[in-house]
């Protein structure tokens, strides 16, 4: 046992050296047209060996360290608490949630513009993550190209407004429906795929959309993107200093208040909030409906689901389509918020972040996903100094989470169903 451990630890340490020494230990230096390899300075090399040593020690005592971490989790999850009466808990929960939404409604009026702007972004991510949660968390289909549907929503609005002068409110349903159509179209070829294969095909799909947007310069402006996307209006009232659209009036003049840039930011935030709440409520409802149960059944056991008469085609396509629909929603809001979009905003990293939110939050759990979306969007903003290490911290956080709480922050709780006794 001990010998086995030492062998394993040594192996890990050597692998660490093999990987990190060539990467960190050598520098390429350009001298004129020649590139020469120079050894790194002593501190870096010391650092590499130190890292190997840390890996060695950790692997040697891995079992006890992991055991401690495991104990921690059992303390924190409160498994020993008495479960509350079911209906009482549901009542408290719904009051708390309503309270939070009401707070969120009034909160922006007391905050700085930057904070409200960030909160809007958080809400967009919440919409995206809730939508992806349907596909990944409920239906169990690993989709790595989710950002494509987000892009479809955003570009639909951008293009419609640029070429046809369509307003936000018209573009919102069109963008969402178009994204849903793309979800349906992607769904067909990947029906038979599961797990890794599905992940790779959806990843490819995401890239295709992005590359298409990048190269179809005549329509999308390519890498230059599309600018001048209008802000949403409130019953024909615009939030800009001067009215741009025909027949519109301006918000501050109608209400006879001084113009302030904040109005627009707050209005966008409120739209995002309402849409996010709608998204959450609709998906919550779906989860309690036959379609939601079918998604989960397919995730749990496809063979059994089919043997009970569920059509794999219908169930998978509905998950893809509904997931994509909400991404389209989010995309339209995003385009309106930024005023400018380019393919840069829809890279694979976005898909990865949204997926990370779903996994961190706890697959299938809506509250967990909302909390994770807040954490993942806000933390990098708070830790600006570390922005270089963002991905590193992100990765480390994921690994720790998987060790400590593999089921996510707030794992999904089953719905309690009261049955009437039958005679």
């Amino acid at each position: 046992m001990a010998a086995q451990n030492i062998k394993h630890a040594l192996f890990c340490a050597v692998i660490t050296l093999i990987i990190s020494y060539p990467i960190l230990g050598f520098n390429l230096e350009a001298q004129g047209i020649n590139v020469t390899i120079v050894g790194a300075n002593a501190t870096t090399i010391m650092g590499v060996f130190l890292a190997a040593l840390v890996v060695f020690v950790f692997q040697l005592f891995r079992d006890s360290i992991m055991g401690k971490l495991g104990n921690l989790s059992s303390l924190s999850s409160g498994t020993h608490k008495e479960p509350m009466a079911e209906n009482k808990r549901v009542k408290i929960e719904s009051w708390v949630l309503t309270g939070i939404v009401v707070l969120a409604l009034f909160w922006p009026f007391f905050m700085s513009r930057g904070a409200v702007d960030l909160a809007t972004l958080v809400l967009i991510y919440i919409m995206l993550a809730l939508g992806l949660n349907v596909v990944v968390g409920l239906a169990g289909l690993l989709d790595l190209g989710y950002v494509a549907f987000y892009a479809v929503g955003a570009y639909t609005f951008a293009l419609l407004s640029q070429y046809l002068g369509v307003s936000f409110w018209f573009a919102l349903p069109i963008g969402a429906l178009l994204a849903a159509t793309f979800g349906l179209v992607l769904g067909f070829p990947v029906l038979r795929l599961r797990g890794d294969y599905l992940a790779i095909v959806t990843l490819g799909f995401g890239e295709i959309i992005r590359i298409l947007l990048n190269n179809w310069t005549s329509l999308t402006g390519g890498p230059n993107g599309i600018g001048g996307i209008p802000d949403p209006t409130l019953f024909g009232m615009e939030f800009g200093r001067r009215v741009k659209g025909e027949g519109n009036t301006s918000f501050h003049e109608t209400f006879n208040i001084a113009y302030s840039g904040e109005h627009k930011v707050i209005f966008l935030y409120l739209i995002a909030l309402v849409l996010a709440v709608i998204t959450a409520l609709v998906i919550r409802r779906f989860m309690r409906m036959p379609v939601g149960r079918a998604w989960e059944a397919l995730r749990e056991d496809e063979i059994a689901a089919r043997s009970l008469g569920l059509s794999r085609t219908a169930v998978k396509l509905s998950a893809f389509t509904i997931g994509a629909f909400f991404a389209g929603f989010a995309g339209t809001v995003f385009a309106s918020k930024q005023g400018f979009i380019s393919p840069e905003s829809f890279v694979f990293l976005e898909s990865a972040i949204i997926l990370a939110i779903v996994v961190l939050g706890g697959m299938g759990s809506q509250i967990g996903v909302v909390l994770a979306a807040i954490a993942v969007t806000i933390l990098p903003e708070l830790a600006r100094e570390f922005s270089e290490y963002r991905m590193l911290i992100f990765g480390a956080a994921m690994v720790l989470m998987m060790v400590w709480r593999p089921q996510g922050l707030m794992p999904m709780r089953r719905i309690h169903i009261e049955l009437k006794k039958q005679e």
């Binding site: 056991d301 063979i303 009970l308 569920l310 049955l419």
Partner: protein
Amino acid sequence: MLEVQNLSMRFGGLLAVDQVSLDVQEREIVSIIGPNGAGKTTVFNCMSGFYTPTGGKILFEGSEVQGKPDYKISRLGMVRTFQHVRLFNQMTVVENLLVAQHRHLNTNLVAGLLKTPNYREREQKSLDRAAYWLERVGLMDLANREAGNLAYGQQRRLEIARCMVTEPKLLMLDEPAAGLNPAETKDLNQLIVSLKEDYCVSVVLIEHDMSLVMDISDRINVINQGRPLASGTPEEIRQNDDVIKAYLGEA
């Protein structure tokens, strides 16, 4: 109501099922027995649409079903359980039963979002049906437990209840008594008989527990190495020399 004619299934070089025929009448319990690897489960897989047989016909209520997709066959009223229990483990016991009633539910998304009266009514009916069957198999108190956390015998019963809520005409049970203790086997015995007597379903049963098979079967089909060996009433099978030889040979 079910007629299997000269069913064959070939996996590459292996002829797992070779010219097997059987028929099931209304309200009849027909068993398929045979040594391990005889091809019993493969016959089920062909009947339930899981495999497309390489030869032969399967007629259910007069129409050919071989090669039809599995979910369509089950919608015709032919449902099965699995040799290794296949529940939706992370879903609760009730949810398992609700999923199975998908076909009886109003699956219109808009109706569900708006909770139309028709939607509510059907949802309530399926809840009642679930409650009825939970009561019937003695799992009512566990209705909101996760299916994966049930004891093995309970999982077996839940799997049968999950089939029954679909209101099938023909039930295919693949080794339902495997892993059950004697008391549970006795309950299972009564349950299967009651399914036939009280709910008018026909049952095709694969089972290794001979006393159960002999007790409840109306007719028995024996297959050995994919080929039909004998068929007849329990009494005939008990006295059939070939069967005795096959089983003794195996032991």
